[in-house]
Symmetry: C2
Subunit: 405 residues, 2 copies
């Protein structure tokens, strides 16, 4: 049984976590602001910050560093994360790109390695070797940060196993069923976490708009795949097995268009870039999907649709209908207050909106509660990276530093 007992230790963990969380969300704060933000007394904040400073987790900012909006009274001393106390390595694995970012504890990007991915990349070298190579390279280029590296986090697409340590299936060729997370953890003696890209989108979306931070939000990515992540009143839904959310592969039409995953009738088969292109060019639904669609080609199609081209607009209508019915069906199970559309497909939102709304209108829950706000975020400002970053740093905060003696 998990130890649910509450004792002075769990109290300290909880309250230190609150302090670190406030700093993570709001940036450097004065002790008074921390007391207000966390609800703890000034006395407790003094004790907690004293400990955290002693352990070098946080530090007082130099007076020079703070912009002095002076008033009367003793000026506040801000405390903020000690950037040098730890670091994290963040991999983003996509169908056609791998990116490794080294960030410090303050969330500042230190170094980055990008590598194109081809369908044969992980056939030629194992995923473990591929990732280990790049991580070693990054370590040798940044010895200082490497010495305080505490976490490796990997954003992937696909379905994770129950333990969240490997992929059962992935659209990235030759990546599924390889124990790279475990092997990497062993080789570098570091915790390695796998995160579903869709889930990170939801995490990232919370940082796009502060108003969303504590709301129930479904974030839908539309692009080379279709994916979704959800937050429920500020909590990410699902760690581990339960939220194997595969929105893009929810069935839209039984026996429908062939999807990249091999099944038929998935939302993705209609709404992803390859699906839209296939429809626009009247390629049969059962034709094998293109392995990758150049970004330019997708952009061109959007432009043509916006110019009024019948085939193109039809294709986006079909896509919108698929997304709309998917959302309407999802809402029968889970009813978020906001729906965000992100990714390259967000640019085509105007072309899909009418069909999305029509489909939503056919859901009882929408008729009763009204249509949810569906909003497209075009300038996505890298929500996946942001999500991966914040999730990983937050994990360090809460696990390593909230609990440190």
């Amino acid at each position: 049984m998990a130890r649910n007992v509450s004792d002075s230790d769990s109290v300290r963990r909880q309250n230190r976590g609150l302090v670190l969380g406030a700093l993570r969300v709001q940036g450097p704060l004065s002790r008074t602001a921390l007391a207000a933000g966390t609800g703890l007394s000034h006395a407790s904040i003094t004790a907690i910050t004293h400990d955290l400073i002693e352990q070098q987790v946080i530090a007082e900012l130099e007076p020079a560093e703070r912009q002095d909006a002076r008033g009367r009274g003793r000026p506040a001393t801000l405390v903020g994360f000690n950037r040098h106390v730890s670091a994290a390595a963040l991999f983003e694995l996509d169908v056609n790109r791998a990116r490794l970012s080294l960030v410090d504890y303050g969330g500042i990007l230190v170094d980055r390695i990008e590598t194109p991915i081809t369908p044969t990349t992980f056939a030629e070298s194992t995923p473990t070797a591929f990732l280990a190579d790049r991580l070693r390279q990054l370590q040798s280029r940044n010895p200082v940060e490497a010495s305080v590296l505490r976490r490796v986090a990997i954003s992937v697409q696909g379905i994770l196993d129950r333990e969240g340590q490997s992929l059962r299936w992935s659209p990235i060729a030759h990546l599924a069923n390889k124990p790279f997370a475990t092997e990497l953890a062993a080789e570098f003696a570091l915790p390695v976490a796998l995160h579903k890209r869709g889930r990170l989108l939801a995490e990232g979306a919370r940082w796009l708009d502060p108003a969303l931070h504590d709301a129930s939000v479904a974030t839908v990515f539309v692009g080379s795949t279709v994916a979704m992540g959800m937050t429920f009143r500020g909590q990410i839904l699902g760690r581990g097995d339960e939220g194997a959310t595969e929105f893009g592969h929810m069935n839209h039409l039984p026996n429908g268009a062939l999807c990249r995953c091999g099944m038929r009738g998935c939302i993705e088969a209609y709404a992803s870039d390859y699906g839209v292109l296939r429809t626009a060019y009247s390629v049969p639904e059962t034709a094998p999907p293109a392995p990758a669609v150049p970004a330019q080609q997708y952009e061109d199609l959007i432009a043509r649709a916006e110019a009024g081209d019948r085939n193109a607009t039809h294709a986006f209508n079909v896509a919108g209908r698929a997304v709309g019915f998917g959302l309407s069906r999802m809402m029968a199970v889970f009813d978020p207050s906001h729906i965000l559309i992100v990714g390259p497909g967000a640019r085509a939102f105007g072309l899909m909106q009418a069909e999305i709304n029509a489909a939503l209108a056919s859901a009882l829950i929408c008729r009763v509660n009204g249509l949810p706000q569906v909003v497209a975020y075009r300038d996505e400002r890298e929500p996946v990276f942001k999500g991966l970053l914040m999730k990983t740093l937050n994990e360090i905060d809460q696990t390593d530093f909230a609990t440190l003696a």
Copy 2:
């Protein structure tokens, strides 16, 4: 902001809640068993039970009451809930029946009032008057329990508003948009909670089978309606707005069969009793659904199908297909380890199983993770009542007594 600060008060609440929770789940226990079950030290258990006994929340059982499986050593003294310290009134509102049960703090049924409901019941008298009448009647018949009544809980079908205090929509005629929960709370000066029937099914299912207590389970009710509740690792999904789960009204086929809710193509329109009957008798899909189906008629249809009647088996196949695709779509968002089918339709599970599995097999998540266990519970032993009971008593435990000075 909710006060997330942890202090000695929250420690006490948490640990007293743990003790009460263990007693709720496992029945009367010795202090040693409580220490083992909760993870608290013997010293703490002594202190906590001492306080709870002093406040009459729990009591030591008379030695006579415990079956003595004696061994050596000092015999254990069991402690259990003091049944007389509080009571709850539980309403179950159905399409054709209202039931009010009075239960004591030990979960023992004290008294019960059943009333048939007709489509005009809540037009002739307001829901508030109807409920208040019966509650007063119960109070006057049981003055002792009435004096310690602490909660009124109401099981309803339909869609709740964001605050969970009234129904936005309900299949029960004239019940929606009446503020009966608020009015009842004011009149009796008691907290009144509205619970979705589907949600309670999920709660109740946890008590049907101890193995399910901490699993992720979707419980599907098939009968005069189709509804679902979900637990995630032992936590009921959704309190309040988010889980406005209306599984029965998830769209199955765009522009499909007419549902009682007025929309078209809902799962319920194919899989509920009226849906199956409509299909079996080749009534057009767009014919208005029968307001209520006699239980006997549904049983007869099952019997006919089991005897091989073509029209009947076809109807159940259609129903299974609707439920199966609904589940397959749900699993793209939420992936439970177990699926339970309960309600009158559980008897027809054998007739629907093949189509359910076929539909599930078309979901990527099932192809990858394997089909979930779909099990029918025929002898449902009143999961709704059980769920309402346990949820309400647990709420009293955690809110009133875990925190009491």
